[in-house]
Structures are given as C-alpha cells and as structure tokens.
C-alpha cells in the first residue's frame, strides 16, 4: 500500500526552482528518509504535501485522498521545520489546541508528554522552554492520537546527544509498531540509523530513491571495504600492501593510508599480513561503505551554496 504518492511536484520561487518534477511513493510501514543538503527542497516538499505551500505544478495524494485532504491530515502527526506553538500558553494548553484541531480527545496529552519527558513541565509556558524542549513538545504534539503516519522534518534539531538517541529510539519503536514515518534530514548518520527507505534530493531534483539497502548495493564501491591504517613508515607499508591480493587502491590521506579492498580482507587478515612482513601497525580502522559514501557519489562532494 502506498501512503504518499508524489507526481512531478514542482515549486518555483521566481527564477529559483526549489523542486523540479519530483516523483516518488512512500510505501506503508516504512521509515522513509528524505535526504538532502541544506536548501535542497526537503522542507518545501513536506510543506506542499501538508498544504502550507502551494505547488507550482504536479500532484500528490495521501493514501488515495487527493488534493488538500484536510481530514486526512488530522490523522498525520507532523513536525515541520520548527516547533510552532503559542508562546504565552503552557505545554498542556498548546497540546489541547492541537488535540481539538485533530478532533482527538485530551486523554492522550499526559501520555505523550511523558513519552518526551515533559510531563513535569506541562504547566510551563512555551516561551520558557529551551530549543530541545520545544522540539520535544513538537514531537509530543505529533504523537497525539497515536497516528499511523508521522512526518518529521529534522526531528533531532536542537536536541542534546541523549535527546537525539531517545528520538531515534522512539522512531524505531514507532516503526516496529507498524507506523509509517516520513523523515526529512540532512544528517546522513541519522537517516542511515533509522530509515528503511530514502529519497535523495539535491537542488530540488530527485537524485535517487529506494530502500536503503538497495541504494547501497547500487554503489560502485559498495561491495568494497575501506580501511584506514598507518604505521611508523607509511612508504614501506604502502609497498607491502601493494603485494596483497584484493587491495584495489591505496591513497595517502594525511598521516594515514586509505585502502579500498574486496570484502574478504578483514582487519585480522590485514594486521597479520603486515606483521608477517615486518610492519607493526599503529592504526587500523575498518569501515564498510556507508550511506555517506553513497550520498557523496550521488550528490558530489561540494556543498550546495
């Protein structure tokens, strides 16, 4: 089942094309990451499907509900861009407003405040909250009514490391519980850790879309292993490594050597080989091909400025 279907979505801001004929579908019960550098059009895309931004062209539908689908939006928990609340109202009163708009009872308010660890501050005014607390309140609001679909735009923005870990765990739990989560992020690590599917957008153009594992497998270097290593004499180390079968390339990188090799070369095998050839390693770090590698392959290495 498709939860969100986007076809040729385009948004122009005068001469700037924020989105250029973007099309993809979000399958049900997935964590769908929308990945792209800052200014790539992620928030614009989510703004359009949440009806706060008008598309210049193209269509979208939520589970077959075409157009604005106001009633369907009530069943989606959304955090878009920044936490938006009435500054002079308490956390609880802000959630009461959100619950009333969504047509949900207020019974959930206590539960969602406890999930995001804000229950003790439920009577505090929103303008007394730190950035992280505001973000957690926005997540609490999105969780109201236990929606089956959640849309998170940079959900860990402003959170401390513990908060980030908590939210990532929460997203995983929601996914395991059968929810569909659409998550925009520019943090590769975040997408890699929690997403099952990903769409990569750059300068408003959809560069790639699919499951995270499929995307990795499509990589030209994805079947290889990257190993970072160094020794007291890197020149001698390089000469030795050139004799090892399976090493595809060796690149000097600062005080290290980066070798690209086939999967069968393990850290243990490499360490033993060097030792047997009279070289003691002082660094050995085995890295598999990450989403970062794949992302940089797709988008290039320069940031979008």
């Amino acid at each position: 089942m498709v939860i969100l279907c986007i076809e040729n979505l385009t948004k122009n801001y005068k001469a700037v094309k924020a989105l250029d004929s973007v099309s993809f579908s979000v399958p049900a019960k997935t964590v769908f990451g929308i990945l792209g550098p800052n200014g790539s059009g992620k928030t614009t895309l989510l703004g359009i499907v949440m009806d706060v931004i008008k598309a210049s062209g193209g269509t979208y539908n939520w589970a077959g509900n075409s157009g604005e689908a106001n009633d369907f939006r009530k069943k989606i928990g959304t955090l878009l861009e920044t936490p938006n609340f009435y500054h002079y109202l308490s956390a609880e009163k802000n959630l009461q407003i959100a619950a009333k708009i969504k047509g949900r009872g207020e019974a959930d308010i206590e539960k969602v405040l406890k999930i995001v660890n804000l229950y003790e501050r439920k009577n505090s005014k929103f303008n007394t909250f730190s950035l992280g607390m505001k973000q957690r309140l926005a997540i609490a609001s999105a969780l109201l009514g236990d929606p089956d679909i959640l849309v998170f735009d940079e959900p860990t923005n402003g959170l401390d490391p513990a908060g980030i870990a908590e939210i990532r765990e929460l997203i995983k739990k929601l996914y395991i519980g059968g929810k569909t989560i659409i998550m925009a992020s520019h943090i590769l690590d975040e997408v890699e850790k929690v997403c099952t599917h990903v769409a990569i957008i750059q300068k408003g153009i959809l560069k790639s879309v699919g499951s995270v594992s499929d995307l990795m497998n499509l990589s030209t270097v994805s079947t290889n292993i990257l190993i970072e290593l160094s020794a007291t004499d890197n020149t001698a180390l390089k000469n030795i490594l050139q004799q090892l079968d399976g090493v595809l390339s060796i690149t000097a990188f600062g005080n290290d050597l980066h070798i690209n090799c086939i999967e069968s070369i393990t850290g243990e095998k490499l360490n033993r080989f060097c030792f047997e050839n009279g070289i003691s390693l002082n660094k050995l770090h085995v890295k598999r091909t990450t989403l970062e590698t794949r992302f940089l392959e797709i988008t290039g290495k320069q940031s979008d400025k």
Binding site: L80, Y86, I101
Partner: protein
C-alpha cells in the same frame, strides 16, 4: 463552527493583551460617555447661550442611542487592534502553519478569524447597548427604541474595523508592521476623507451638485459617517453649504467594502504560501 470557536477561545482567553484591551474598551466606553454627561450637566447646562443651542439631554431616550454609539465608536480601534495582534501572532509564532498541518483547512482558519471579528463586534455592541440603557435609565426619560438604528450602524462600524484589521494582518504577517499600517491607514484615510469633504463642498457651491460627503465613501469613513454627533444642531444652518448625509449610499458602500475585504482575505489565504 462551534468547535472552531472553542479552539479560538482556548487561544484567546489566556492572552494578557485580550484581557487588557477588552477592559480598556469597556472602561473607555463608559468613561467617555460619563465625561460627556458631566460636561453637558456641569458646563453646557450652566451657560445660558449654550442651553439655547444644546437643548435637551443627549442621554434621554431616544437620543441616548445616538450619543452613546457616537462616543463609544472612538474606542472601536481597540478591539480592531486586538484582532491585528491576535492574527499577527499566528504568523509570528507560525501557528497558522501548524493549525493547517494539524488538519484545519485554510478556509476554516480564515472563517473562524472572521467569526471572531464578528463576535468582537457583537461583544462591543452589547457593551454599548448596556451602557446606553444604563445612561438612558438614569436620565429619567422613558424607554424608547427610536434611534436604535444607531446601534446597527455601530455594529457595522465595528465589523468594518475588525475585518480591515484581519486583512491588514493577513497582508503584512508581522505584528509591528500590521499595527503601524493599521494606524497609518486610519490617519491617511481620515486625511483623504477631509480633502474629499472639501471637494464635495466646492462642487456643491460651484456646480450645485450634491454628491454627499465624498469622504464618507471611503472604507473606514463609510461606517464612520453613519454615526453622527448628537450635538449637530448647526447642521440645519449649514445645509446650503455642507453636502447631504446620503446615508443609504454610505450604508451600501460600507456593506460593499465588507464584502470586498472578505473576498480579498479569502483569496490571500487560499492562494498564498503560509
């Protein structure tokens, strides 16, 4: 709509600005009329010449409807100002976006704001009715609904001010700019209205065409012009110079402006990026 109004009430009831401005309005209405009452009793009624000109009490029924609505209408700027602030707050806090994201339609969002504008206009009118009844009763005259159409004009003026407030907030989206623009527009329109009034006088004098007070055909002045001072005893003497009131046309203008502002707000809300 009831549910939408309940949501708005949740937003408004805890807002300090609402409590302050609503209180200022109520106090202003009562105080301004009381000052006029005292001034008439202690000053005008003590001077023989003025007693001849300003005969009768402006707070007797049926004049009380005209008097209270006229002086109270100066305070209608306060509920309009409150609406500018409440609407601009939505844009400032980006809660208008969140309301839509949470499932409100764009039209629902605007509809309930316009409903609140009407509720404020009704509330203001209710305060004025009570004030007029109290002043009328204390003046010792017997109750009369003659002149009650002034209450209708007051409601129309309140509605016009309130819808202009919403439109300006919708167009500017920033509270400071919206408040400044609201006041600048009010001053600007009154200035233009005065010039148009002089033009109407000149046209009447030179060409003997009476188009009415041209200034009263402007948006805010259309509803202003329907409420006239209770001390207009000189109007009879100046009838040859001053253009006629042309109340029916002014009333039609006021209603047409409200309809225009409604559609303008709707188009802006439905088509803009939020």
């Amino acid at each position: 709509m009831i549910n939408l109004l309940k949501i708005e009430w949740l937003k408004i009831k805890s807002y300090t600005g609402f409590i302050l401005l609503a209180s200022f309005f109520a106090v202003g209405v009562v105080a301004s009329n009381y000052i006029v009452y005292i001034f008439k009793r202690n000053v005008l009624d003590q001077v023989e010449a003025s007693k001849l000109i300003f005969s009768g009490s402006p707070f007797d029924f049926e004049m009380v409807w005209k008097t209270v609505t006229y002086y109270s209408s100066y305070f209608l700027i306060l509920p309009a100002l409150l609406l500018v602030i409440l609407m601009a707050n939505e844009f400032n806090y980006k809660t208008h976006r969140q309301n839509i994201i949470d499932g409100l339609s764009r039209y629902d969002f605007l509809k309930v704001k316009l409903a609140i504008a009407l509720v404020f206009a009704l509330g203001s009118t209710l305060i004025v009715i009570i004030t007029a009844l109290v002043f009328g009763a204390t003046s010792g005259s017997s109750f009369s609904v003659n002149g009650f159409e002034n209450v209708g004009y007051f409601f129309l003026k309140a509605s016009t001010y309130n819808i202009i407030a919403i439109l300006i907030a919708l167009l500017t989206k920033k509270s400071g700019v919206a408040i400044a623009l609201f006041f600048i527009y009010t001053i600007f329109e009154n200035g233009v209205s005065l010039l148009l009034f002089f033009l109407a006088v000149k046209i009447k004098k030179d060409n003997h065409h009476d188009f009415g007070n041209l200034g009263n055909y402007l948006p805010m002045n259309a509803s202003d012009g329907l409420l006239t001072s209770p001390f207009d005893q000189f109007s009879g003497m100046t009838r040859d110079i001053i253009p006629s009131d042309n109340n029916k046309l002014v009333l039609a203008c006021a209603i047409v402006y409200i309809i225009i502002f409604y559609y303008w707000s709707k188009i802006k809300m439905m088509r803009s990026d939020l």
